[in-house]
C-alpha cells in the first residue's frame, strides 16, 4: 500500500514553476497561475450557460 503513496502520474508532468520555486524560492505556496485567471474570464464569457451561472452566483453572493 505504501508503494501507492509515492506513485506519481506517468502521463502528467510535475508543475514546472513549483519545481523552480522549490529549488530557488521566490514564490508563495498558494499560487494560482496569473495567466489562468485571465483565461478563465475569457472562457466564462465565451459560453452563455457558464456566463449565466457565473452571474447568478455573483448576484447570490452579493
Amino acid at each position: 500500500m505504501n508503494n501507492l503513496i509515492v506513485k506519481n502520474s506517468q502521463t502528467l508532468t510535475s508543475n514546472d514553476i513549483e519545481n523552480l520555486a522549490k529549488r530557488f524560492g521566490g514564490k508563495s505556496n498558494d499560487y494560482i497561475e496569473i495567466v489562468n485567471t485571465q483565461k478563465n474570464k475569457q472562457t466564462i464569457n465565451k459560453y452563455a450557460l457558464l456566463k449565466e451561472i457565473d452571474n447568478a452566483l455573483k448576484s447570490l453572493s452579493n
Partner: protein, 891 residues
C-alpha cells in the same frame, strides 16, 4: 538401399556397398561427403579426392585431428597475430612476417620461462608491494593531514565555514578604522616580505614545497575559507615568481635574449594581472536568489518585451514570440514587440495574428542599440525585457527576475544566463557537447555571480530586464560602440544604479552555427570592449567604485589576451631556434620556480572554476581566438571609431563536412614552426652542447604542450556537418498518445524540436509512418492535445511531426516544451567537478583528432602523398613483430 538407386547411380552405389562392408554407415557417409566436397568444390581430381578422406581417417587413428586443428589455428593466430588473411594471397610477405616474428618470439616470448624473468618478476613484486605500502602510508598521512587541517580551520567556529568567513568579515574589529588599516597594512607587509625576500635555491625549494603541501592538504577541505587560503597561497607564489623574474632572470648582456625575454615577461605580467583580478572577481560569488513578488498582482509593474531582429528567419522569431506571449504575467501588464529592422511584411502579419506588437523605424542607424532606442519611443512599460530573437524565454522569466526591482528601487538591470541548447562550434566540431563545459559556462556560471558581488554585473544584450527610468537617465541604450550592452550597463552604473544577476537559466537559444561566425562574434565583443576602454574608460571615469573598476578592467584585459597568448605559444622556440635565454637562470632555478608555481595556480583555478571550466580548456578556447581578436582590439584601441556592427548569424546549416582552412591558417603556421622547433630541438639534443640539456628539455616540454594545445585549436576548424533544420533537444518527461482506435498509451518524450517530438512507448507499438496520432502533453496538471503525424518508427520509438497547428496550439506546445520553467535547470549541473588529469587527457585526445583532421582534410594536391605515406607506414608496421596475444584464463 533400393535397386532403383543402383540403377540410377551405378558407380556410386557400388562403392557404397563395397565400403559398407568395411566401414560403419557413418564413416561411409563421411567418406562420400568429403569426396564430393573435394571434387566439386575444391576441384581436386578424382583420385586425390577419393584418397584424402582415407588419409584423414587413417591419421585420425593416431592424432586427435579435430582438437589439434583448432589448436594449431589458434596458436598461429595468437603467436602471429599480424599475418595477413587469407594466408595464401599474401604468401611471400607472410613468410617474411612469419620469419621475423619467429626470431622475435625466440628471443622475446620464450623468456618468461627463463630464470632471469622469474627473478625480475620477484623484484617487481617486491617493488610493487613496497610501493603500494608506501602509497597507503602516504594516503593515511594525507587523510590525517586533511582532517587536522579541517579541524584547525573550523576550530573556534562551530558553524560552517562560510559563516566563519562571515564572522570574520563582520567582526567588530573592522569597525574601528585605525585597527582595520593597521591589520590590512600588516597583512600587506607580510605578503610583501614573502614576495620580495630573496631566497637561496634550497630555501625556495623548502618554501615552495611547504606551500604545495598545505595546498595539497587543503584539497579535501571544502568551503570558502579553504578556497581563500588557496587563493592567498597562489597570490604569494605567483607574485614571488614574478618578482624573481623581474629581478633575477633578465639577461642584460644579450640584446636579443633581453628583447625576447622582456616580451615573455610582459606576457607573464599580463597573465599574473588577469589571475589576480580573476581571484578578486570570483572570491565570493553572490549566488543571488529570486525575490518574491507581492501577492496582489495589481501592484506588479508593466513590462515591455522587445524582440529585436534583423535578418533571422520567421521560424526562429516565431518560437521566441510565442514563448514571450506565454510568460506568466498579468496580460494587461505585458506587451510583446517584435522590433524588425528587416521590415518584412510577413513578420508584421505574424505579429498581428499572434497578438504581439510590431515596430519598425525609418532608418537602421546604430544597429541594435538604435532599434531598441527607437522602440522605447513607441512603448511605455515601466520595465523592458530584451530577448534576442533566438532566445526562447521560460514562462517564469519575469516572476524570477522582477522581484529584484521591487526589492530595491536602485536596481536597473536583472541579467540571467544565456543558455544554448544547440552545440556551439567548439562543442560540435570537437564532439564534446555536454561533456566538457563550454566557453560560456565560466562567464555565466561563475564570473557574473562574482561580478554581482561587486555590483558590477554586465548586461549581455539579451535575456535581461532593464528599468526604463534608468535608461532614460542615461539617454537610452548606448550606441557609440559595437557592444551596446556592456556600455549601457556601464553608464547606468555610473549614474548610480545597481545591476544584478540571477544564475537561473530562464531562456535558451541557438549557439552560433559556424566557427567563423563564432569568431566574428568574439571579434565584435573584443572590438567593443576596446572601444569602451577608449571612449568611456571605466578605470578613470566618474561614478564607479574600485571593485567595479577592477571587474571592468578584468573584462577588458580578457579581450587583450591575443598578444600574450601568441607569445606563450612561441616562447619556448626562442631558446630552441636562437639559443636566446629568455629566462636567464640555471635549469634548477627555473624548475623550482616555474613548475610548483604553475601547479599551485592551476589547482587553485581548478578548485574555483572546476564546475564551469575544465583545466587546460581555457587555453584551447583562448588560442583559437587569440589571433583574431588581436587585430580588432589593437585597431580599436588606437582608433575606436572604426569598425561597424555585424550581426551574428545563427540557425543555419553546414551542408557539408569541411575544413575551414582560412580560419585555421594562423594556427597552422604556429603549429608548423613549433613542429620544426621540435625537430631542431631533437637535433640539438643529440649534437648540441650537453650543458644546455636541462634548459633545452624544459623548452621542448613546453613546446610539446603548445603543440598539444595548437592541435586542439586546429581540431576546431574541421566543421562538422549539421543536418537538422531545427535542433532536437533531449528531454525526459511523461506524456501520452491517443491512437486512432481510441487506445491511449503512456509514453516518454525523449526529444523535441519546434516541429516534432520523439517519444518512446513502454512496449513495442503498432504505429505506421503517416498515421495520425493525438499527442497529449501536459504542463503540470494541464493537459494539451496536439495532432501529429508519425514520421518514423523504430521498435519502441516513434518520431512525430507537428503540422498545421493553430497559433494557440503552437503556443501551448511551446509552453509544454521550450518555455517550461524548469526546462534548462539541469544543464549546469550535468558536469562533474574538474579533474585536471582527465581534462588534460581530453585535450590530448582532441589534439590528436586535430592532427587527424589535418591529414584527412589536406588539400587535394597533398592527398596522394599523405595517402602514400600512411599506407607506407601501415605496410612497414605490418612487418614489425607483434606481442603474442595472451588470453586471460579467467575469460
Amino acid at each position: 538401399m533400393s535397386f532403383s538407386l543402383l540403377y540410377k547411380h551405378p558407380i556410386h552405389s557400388v562403392f557404397y556397398i563395397l565400403l559398407s562392408i568395411l566401414f560403419t554407415d557413418k564413416l561411409v557417409r563421411y567418406i562420400f561427403l568429403k569426396f564430393y566436397s573435394y571434387f566439386n568444390q575444391h576441384k581436386v581430381n578424382v583420385i586425390e579426392a577419393f584418397t584424402m578422406p582415407f588419409i584423414t581417417l587413417f591419421s585420425s587413428l593416431f592424432i586427435d585431428i579435430k582438437n589439434n586443428k583448432t589448436n594449431f589455428e589458434l596458436a598461429l593466430k595468437n603467436y602471429y597475430p599480424h599475418l595477413m588473411l587469407p594466408y595464401r594471397s599474401y604468401i611471400y610477405t607472410n613468410i617474411i612476417r612469419f620469419f621475423i616474428q619467429s626470431i622475435f618470439l625466440l628471443f622475446y616470448a620464450n623468456k618468461p620461462k627463463s630464470n632471469s624473468k622469474l627473478i625480475s618478476k620477484n623484484i617487481a613484486h617486491i617493488f610493487y608491494n613496497g610501493a603500494s605500502y608506501c602509497l597507503s602510508q602516504l594516503r593515511w598521512f594525507d587523510l590525517k593531514l586533511g582532517k587536522l587541517l579541517k579541524r584547525l580551520l573550523s576550530k573556534n567556529r562551530k558553524r560552517t565555514e562560510k559563516s566563519a568567513l562571515k564572522t570574520m568579515v563582520n567582526a567588530r574589529v573592522w569597525q574601528n578604522k585605525p585597527i582595520k588599516y593597521i591589520i590590512i597594512s600588516f597583512i600587506l607587509f607580510l605578503l610583501a616580505v614573502f614576495i620580495t625576500i630573496p631566497f637561496s635555491l634550497e630555501a625556495q625549494a623548502v618554501f615552495i614545497s611547504l606551500i604545495l603541501l598545505v595546498a595539497y592538504a587543503l584539497k579535501r577541505v571544502k568551503g570558502q575559507l579553504a578556497t581563500i587560503i588557496m587563493i592567498t597561497l597562489s597570490v604569494t607564489t605567483s607574485s614571488r615568481y614574478l618578482w624573481w623574474r623581474y629581478t633575477e632572470t633578465l639577461n642584460w648582456d644579450d640584446p636579443l635574449a633581453l628583447f625576447l625575454g622582456a616580451g615573455l615577461l610582459l606576457a607573464e605580467s599580463y597573465a599574473w594581472l588577469v589571475l589576480i583580478l580573476g581571484f578578486f572577481q570570483t572570491i565570493n560569488p553572490l549566488e543571488r536568489k529570486p525575490a518574491p513578488l507581492p501577492k496582489n498582482t495589481d501592484s506588479w509593474p508593466t513590462v515591455d518585451v522587445y524582440i529585436p531582429t534583423y535578418n533571422e528567419p520567421l521560424s526562429v522569431v516565431k518560437t521566441t514570440t510565442l514563448a514571450a506571449l506565454s510568460i506568466d504575467w498579468p496580460a494587461d501588464k505585458l506587451n510583446i514587440y517584435i522590433l524588425d529592422d528587416g521590415k518584412r511584411p510577413e513578420f508584421a502579419e505574424f505579429a498581428k495574428q499572434a497578438g504581439a506588437g510590431y515596430l519598425t523605424r525609418p532608418d537602421n542607424n546604430h544597429a541594435k542599440a538604435g532599434n531598441l532606442n527607437s522602440a522605447m519611443c513607441h512603448t511605455d512599460g515601466e520595465y523592458i525585457a530584451i530577448f534576442d530573437c533566438d532566445h526562447v524565454p521560460a514562462r517564469s522569466f519575469l516572476q524570477m527576475t522582477m522581484g529584484q526591482f521591487l526589492k530595491d528601487s536602485k536596481v536597473c538591470l536583472v541579467q540571467t544566463p544565456h543558455h544554448f541548447f544547440s552545440a556551439d562550434p567548439f562543442e560540435r566540431n570537437l564532439n564534446n557537447h555536454s561533456k566538457i563545459p563550454n566557453e560560456n559556462m565560466l562567464f555565466y556560471g561563475l564570473i557574473q555571480d562574482g561580478n554581482d558581488m561587486w555590483d558590477a554585473t554586465f548586461f549581455c544584450g539579451s535575456c535581461a530586464v532593464l528599468k526604463r527610468q534608468a535608461l532614460n537617465d542615461i539617454g537610452g541604450f548606448a550606441f557609440e560602440t559595437v557592444t551596446e550592452d556592456a556600455h549601457t550597463a556601464l553608464r547606468m552604473q555610473r549614474a548610480g544604479y545597481k545591476t544584478t544577476y540571477i544564475n537561473i537559466p530562464q531562456a535558451a537559444g541557438l549557439a552560433t552555427d559556424s566557427l567563423s561566425a563564432h569568431v566574428g562574434q568574439r571579434i565584435r565583443w573584443a572590438r567593443g570592449m576596446a572601444q569602451i576602454f577608449r571612449l568611456d574608460n571605466p578605470l578613470f571615469g566618474k561614478g564607479l567604485n574600485i571593485p567595479q573598476r577592477l571587474c571592468y578592467l578584468n573584462a577588458m584585459l580578457h579581450f587583450l589576451s591575443g598578444i600574450p597568448r601568441i607569445v606563450f605559444l612561441t616562447a619556448p622556440l626562442a631558446l630552441i631556434y636562437f639559443n636566446a635565454y629568455i629566462i636567464y637562470a640555471p635549469f634548477l632555478a627555473i624548475f623550482i620556480y616555474v613548475v610548483p608555481t604553475l601547479i599551485q595556480v592551476k589547482t587553485t583555478n581548478s578548485r574555483i572554476q572546476g564546475k564551469y571550466r575544465y583545466s587546460f580548456w581555457g587555453e584551447v578556447y583562448e588560442s583559437v581566438l587569440a589571433w583574431y581578436i588581436l587585430k580588432p582590439t589593437t585597431v580599436a584601441l588606437f582608433n575606436p571609431k572604426k569598425g561597424k556592427f555585424n550581426v551574428t548569424e545563427k540557425g543555419g546549416l553546414n551542408n557539408k563536412e569541411h575544413y575551414d582552412w582560412a580560419i585555421s591558417k594562423p594556427y597552422l603556421v604556429l603549429l608548423l614552426i613549433n613542429l620544426i622547433g621540435m625537430l631542431v630541438g631533437i637535433l640539438r639534443l643529440l649534437f648540441g652542447d650537453p650543458s644546455q640539456l636541462g634548459v633545452l628539455l624544459i623548452s621542448m616540454a613546453w613546446a610539446i604542450y603548445n603543440i598539444i594545445i595548437l592541435g586542439a585549436a586546429v581540431a576546431v576548424a574541421a566543421e562538422a556537418r549539421q543536418v537538422r533544420h531545427s535542433h532536437r533537444i533531449k528531454a525526459n518527461f511523461p506524456a501520452a498518445i491517443r491512437l486512432k482506435n481510441g487506445h491511449t498509451l503512456k509514453v516518454k518524450i525523449t526529444d523535441y524540436s519546434d516541429n516534432g517530438v520523439g517519444v518512446e512507448t513502454e512496449h513495442t507499438h503498432l504505429c505506421n509512418v503517416n498515421d495520425k496520432i493525438e499527442l497529449l502533453m501536459s504542463r503540470g496538471n494541464k493537459q494539451f492535445s496536439f495532432l501529429t503525424y508519425v514520421c518514423n518508427t523504430r521498435d519502441k520509438q516513434i518520431g512525430l511531426t507537428i503540422k498545421d497547428l493553430s497559433l494557440e496550439k503552437q503556443r501551448a506546445f511551446i509552453q509544454c516544451t521550450f518555455s517550461r520553467a524548469d526546462a534548462w535547470l539541469d544543464w549546469q549541473n550535468n558536469f562533474r567537478h574538474d579533474r585536471p588529469s582527465y581534462s588534460f587527457k581530453e585535450v590530448q585526445k582532441t589534439s590528436l583528432r586535430g592532427f587527424n583532421n589535418l591529414l584527412f582534410h589536406a588539400p587535394r594536391v597533398l592527398q596522394p602523398i599523405i595517402k602514400f605515406m600512411t599506407n607506407l607506414i601501415i605496410y612497414i608496421n605490418s612487418f614489425i613483430p607483434k606481442r603474442p596475444i595472451v588470453h586471460n584464463i579467467y575469460d
